[in-house]
């Protein structure tokens, strides 16, 4: 792969990382909002709708985090993570 293609790949990775992280933030926010609804009424969420909502949110959030955010994190921020021993260890444990 020549340097221009490598640059383009890095650029694309960065955009994928940014958009995926925004999706992750939205779903985490939605989870917190729905958990607050419990304070209003428990019954509303103990239904098929609640179950489907919970499962679909969980699937999307974990798929985005484990499938896109974590793998691209290291490639996009390799300068920050790769050059420090502590960061590399923390990346592995987090």
């Amino acid at each position: 792969m020549n340097s221009d293609m490598l640059k383009l790949a890095n650029h694309n990775n960065k955009h994928v990382f940014d958009s995926m992280f925004l999706i992750l933030i939205c779903f985490i926010g939605l989870d917190v909002v729905v958990s607050t609804v419990f304070d209003l009424s428990d019954e509303k969420l103990n239904t098929i709708f609640g179950l489907v909502l919970f499962l679909s949110m969980a699937c999307i959030t974990f798929a985005v985090a484990n499938g896109f955010v974590l793998p691209t994190l290291k490639t996009v921020y390799k300068k920050a993570i790769g050059q420090s021993a502590l960061f590399a260890v923390l990346y592995k444990t987090c």
Partner: protein
């Protein structure tokens, strides 16, 4: 990676039980939260310590970063305590199997009835408030400096900043008032709207903090200098981390509800802390190194200007060489200390030099008419 994958596996087992048996064991929720929160606490603590060690060696470091250091310490402490609260809640909970429950439970937690849990919740809340206030002050002062250097006015962002602080304090006041009388009323039924206001204000604050860092990141990456682009990247990383962590802190993991909403957000504590820690730490060190090098160049140029030698190309070359030598030495020392690389290439130093000469010339041009006016 390890914590996040373990959490995913445990979560999958919990979902399996939840779907096929219409109930789940609370131990799964506790383990997920323990892994996520204790790991998050450890990461923030490690980064706080690294940042503190760096401040001891470089006492000239930015005061704004000191507020971020404080917020990291408080956030680490509160996340660790939240993990303990969940453990304590499990011990106190009679039923370990969580099933659909038609009644909404609003627990009244007093020192007499819950003892340790009351103490833990009170300290956690005070610690979260301290973390929030430190991060708010740090971000506001950082943004103020940014606007000052660029002569900009962003009224809407200031309104958002003060509105989120005001609503946060308003929402938390009733709980704080009752703590001296040994009652933790945060989950009280009559304070439902305060609880909703609290969550809204924390989420909007998280978005506000994120916007500030994104604005700064965009402005840094627009400067065609490698070192500034790197600071911009770290700033963007901090934006994602800070927004995610702010949202996670209001997920109330100790409430054992069915379906377990709130657990999804709670399980990303480690990832958010890692991103926030790495972003802040790298940004603080890179920005401070850039400021230090620019200060060094400006000092050398001013000295040369005073003795009237700045005009000669030979003198500028001499300064360039001197600054390059010192910069390389400092950058190598920085890399050994922190592991963070800084752009100290000849081209980067030359760019700084040209920019500072231009700034000095502009300042001189602005001062000349003033002197003429004074003379007349």
């Amino acid at each position: 990676m390890i914590a996040q994958l373990s959490v995913t596996v445990i979560f999958a087992v919990m979902v399996f039980e939840f779907v096929f048996f219409n109930s789940f064991h609370s131990i799964f929720k506790v383990v997920i939260i323990a892994v996520s929160y204790f790991e998050a606490s450890f990461i923030l603590c490690a980064m706080g310590y690294k940042l503190f060690s760096w401040f001891r060696v470089n006492p000239r470091g930015s005061k704004t970063m000191l507020f971020y250091l404080l917020s990291m310490v408080f956030a680490s402490f509160s996340l660790g305590l939240s993990g303990l609260v969940v453990f304590n809640g499990l011990i106190l909970n009679d039923s370990l199997l969580i099933q659909p429950n038609k009644n909404v439970v609003f627990p009244v937690i007093t020192f007499e009835s819950f003892g340790v849990l009351f103490t833990l919740l009170s300290i956690t809340l005070i610690s979260y408030i301290s973390a929030y206030l430190s991060i708010w002050i740090g971000t506001v002062s950082l943004f103020r400096t940014y606007l000052k250097t660029r002569n900009l006015h962003k009224k809407k962002i200031w309104i958002l900043a003060f509105a989120s602080l005001f609503s946060y304090l308003t929402a938390i006041v009733p709980t704080l008032i009752f703590i001296p009388s040994k009652q933790f009323v945060f989950d009280d039924q009559s304070l439902l709207y305060f609880r909703i206001l609290f969550k809204i204000s924390v989420i909007s604050s998280g978005i506000f903090f994120g916007i500030i860092f994104i604005v700064m990141s965009n402005s840094m990456t627009s400067i065609k200098r490698k070192s500034s682009a790197m600071i911009g990247k770290y700033s963007r990383m901090s934006a994602y981390g800070i927004t995610t962590l702010a949202i996670i802190t209001v997920s109330q993991p100790y409430v054992l509800s069915y379906p377990p909403f709130g657990i999804i957000s709670s399980s990303f504590g480690a990832l958010a802390s890692f991103i926030i820690a790495i972003g802040f730490y790298s940004m603080a060190i890179s920005a401070s190194q850039e400021a230090h090098i620019r200060h060094l160049i400006a000092k050398e140029l001013k000295e040369a200007d005073l003795i009237g030698k700045l005009g000669t190309a030979h003198r500028v070359k001499e300064i360039e060489k001197k600054v390059m030598d010192i910069s390389k030495e400092k950058t190598n020392a920085l890399k050994d200390q922190t592991g963070i690389e800084y752009d100290d290439s000849d081209e980067a130093i030359k760019n700084h030099l040209d920019e500072i000469i231009k700034e000095m010339q502009q300042q001189r041009q602005q001062q000349q008419p003033l002197k003429k006016n004074k003379g007349t």
